[in-house]
């Protein structure tokens, strides 16, 4: 919970990791390149005083995690989003099992999400069922650009992906978080193409698709798709830190998102440990669209911030929200959005 100027903000960090990117766990040069790439994002966009050494960044402790999220980070609930990368890391980068162990040691603090890969075929479907039962899964994180042997990626529209999405429906896994990234088969296609989200969102109206980092670097394509699909949300991981280094650009992105999809379909995340919730939340609550941009983009209201920081994610994961945090309105409908039900306040 974060409190400022008499307002309370329930915080759901929708994107956290407990990774091991250390040299001992790197299987090859790709594992080395990957953690160094993450580290460059961390260094480039963090305020100077928040920058870690590569050593700490490669493998931080559970103590660090709990301190940074819950002791100083204002987070009420953190969602572990796994990143397997089994081709790059000996024991995986941050797996459901690793995350789950931390969650079980700290009851009530974490939501554990799973993952699947359609290239695992029939055997993978059984594994997903077991995973869902073991961890009471309500969500999964998918990496369409993850490597697997000779394959450099897959599409949500692949036939096996549909089988897995049907399985998710059957297992009560409602929330499908999607990360888009470099390299995807075939290589001459746009690696960041978000068009496959469009198809599956239409085909599975009972599932919710959260497109992480709002599809950056294809913000425009994400907006175009999401405005027409009421079950598509945008996750702000990777966008949030621009609030420090490029506040006007942050204003443009938030402004575009509010226009195309509205305040009810955006979720906050720190992407810990790439960035830290404490400074992100403090700056976001203080943030306002610059005056000279308000004629274009309007204002970012307190209610919108409450929804983005936690109430929207609370709805997705049926989380109980303290009464003192209720947003006072439903927010305006954005272009193309369906009318939204009242913000999730449960007694």
């Amino acid at each position: 919970m974060y409190t400022k100027d008499g307002e309370n903000y329930f915080i759901v960090d929708s994107h956290t990791h407990f990774w091991d990117g250390s040299p001992a766990n790197q299987a090859n040069r790709y594992g080395k390149g990957f953690i160094e790439c993450f580290y460059d994002y961390h260094r480039n966009l963090s305020p100077e005083e928040w920058v870690w050494t590569l050593e700490k960044f490669s493998k931080y402790s559970e103590r660090d995690l709990l301190h940074d999220l819950f002791e100083v980070g204002y987070v009420d609930k953190a969602i572990f989003q796994p990143t397997y990368l089994s081709d790059f890391y000996v024991n995986g980068f941050n797996t459901t099992e690793q995350d789950g162990a931390v969650a079980e040691r700290n009851p009530g603090k974490f939501i554990v999400n799973g993952a699947w890969d359609p290239r695992d075929g029939e055997a993978g479907l059984d594994k997903l069922e077991q995973l869902a039962q073991r961890w009471d899964l309500k969500g999964v994180k998918l990496y369409t650009a993850e490597w697997k042997g000779d394959s450099k990626g897959w599409k949500l529209t692949d036939p096996w992906s549909y089988r897995y999405l049907e399985k998710c429906e059957a297992l009560g896994i409602k929330n499908i978080h999607i990360h888009k990234g470099p390299t995807i088969y075939p290589l001459n296609r746009d690696a960041f193409d978000v068009a496959d989200v469009d198809d599956v969102a239409t085909a599975f109206p009972n599932l919710t698709f959260i497109v992480e980092h709002v599809g950056l670097p294809r913000l425009e394509d994400f907006c175009w798709i999401a405005t027409q699909e009421p079950n598509v949300l945008g996750g702000l991981a990777v966008v949030m830190p621009f609030i420090h280094s490029r506040p006007r650009y942050f204003a443009q992105v938030i402004g575009e998102l509010l226009y195309w999809i509205g305040e009810d379909r955006i979720t906050f995340a720190s992407d810990y440990a790439i960035w830290q919730p404490k400074w992100l939340i403090e700056k976001f609550v203080d943030f306002q669209i610059p005056e000279d941009m308000q004629s274009e983009y309007g204002e970012l209201t307190t209610d919108a911030k409450k929804k983005i920081l936690g109430l929207n994610a609370a709805k997705l994961y049926d989380l109980e929200v303290p009464a003192e945090v209720a947003a006072s309105s439903n927010g305006g409908a954005a272009v193309g959005s369906e009318p939204v039900s009242p913000a999730g306040v449960t007694a």
């Binding site: 040069r29 790709y30 390149g33 990957f34 160094e36 790439c37 460059d40 994002y41 260094r43 480039n44 966009l45 000779d150 450099k152 990234g181 470099p182 390299t183 088969y185 075939p186 290589l187 001459n188 296609r189 746009d190 690696a191 960041f192 950056l216 670097p217 294809r218 913000l219 425009e220 907006c223 175009w224 280094s245 490029r246 650009y249 443009q252 992105v253 575009e256 226009y259 195309w260």
Partner: protein
């Protein structure tokens, strides 16, 4: 022939090598690689142009990376005084395949036989259309600031655009897409160069704005990442 010092002819060639590299644009960011800081080194010796390129991350999309290295090679080969080109990408997960493929003029499919499925024409065309839309939005914003109404934009001709960097950029993008650059050509077009009804202009312009925000933001992000990755670079 052995050169023991850089003669004025070679200095001239080096200058032309840089000018040639300045014509190579990152297709996604729509800016010259020289301005983005992607050129780590460029020199000429005995008619061989030696260029080293680098990108913001180890995992930058290999299709874009390939395009830039291949375009750099083509631009360098056209420089008078350059008889041989040695252009390579450093510090990238697919550098070996890209460098070899470009040097052998193998094409993208030849460079990535297992994973490519055709050449990069479609990718290039997609990003040329995005670049055009971003330029169209910037030009239209200037018109609206000077008093034009959005609905009127359906009938604006290129001649109505005052001389400006925005106009020059837009005309260049139109030429790349095979659209007319004549004075009486329609300014506001769909992706195919066809007319847009007055009632549709606002919607298309609104989307163009999202494209422009996206392209500009991506470029700024990439420039920043490059500086973090290579802090000692001076350009």
């Amino acid at each position: 022939m052995v050169t023991t010092r850089v003669n004025s002819g070679e200095a001239e060639t080096v200058a032309q090598v840089w000018a040639a590299l300045a014509t190579v644009r990152d297709p996604e960011l729509d800016q010259p690689v020289t301005e983005l800081g992607f050129v780590a080194a460029a020199s000429v010796e005995d008619g061989t142009a030696r260029v080293r390129l680098r990108l913001p991350t180890y995992f930058c999309a290999p299709n874009f990376a390939y395009l830039m290295v291949a375009d750099a090679r083509d631009a360098l080969l056209a420089v008078l005084g350059v008889s041989h080109v040695d252009v390579r990408l450093d510090d990238h997960f697919a550098a070996e395949e890209i460098n070899q493929g470009v040097a052998e003029a193998a094409g993208f499919e030849g460079s990535f036989p297992a994973h490519a499925n055709g050449e990069l024409d479609e990718l290039r065309a997609t990003f040329r259309r995005k670049a055009h839309l971003a330029c169209l939005e910037r030009a239209c914003r200037k018109l609206i600031e000077s008093g034009w109404h959005v609905e009127e934009l359906a009938h604006v001709q290129l001649a109505d655009l005052p001389d400006s960097p925005e106009r020059a950029s837009l005309v260049r993008r139109r030429a790349e897409l095979g659209m007319s650059t004549e004075d009486d050509a329609r300014l506001f077009t769909d992706d195919g160069g066809g007319p847009v009804e007055a009632g549709q202009v606002a919607g298309r312009l609104r989307f163009a704005k999202a494209v422009r925000v996206s392209v500009d933001g991506n470029a700024a992000f990439c420039r920043g990442l490059l500086k973090t990755r290579y802090p000692e670079e001076a350009s």
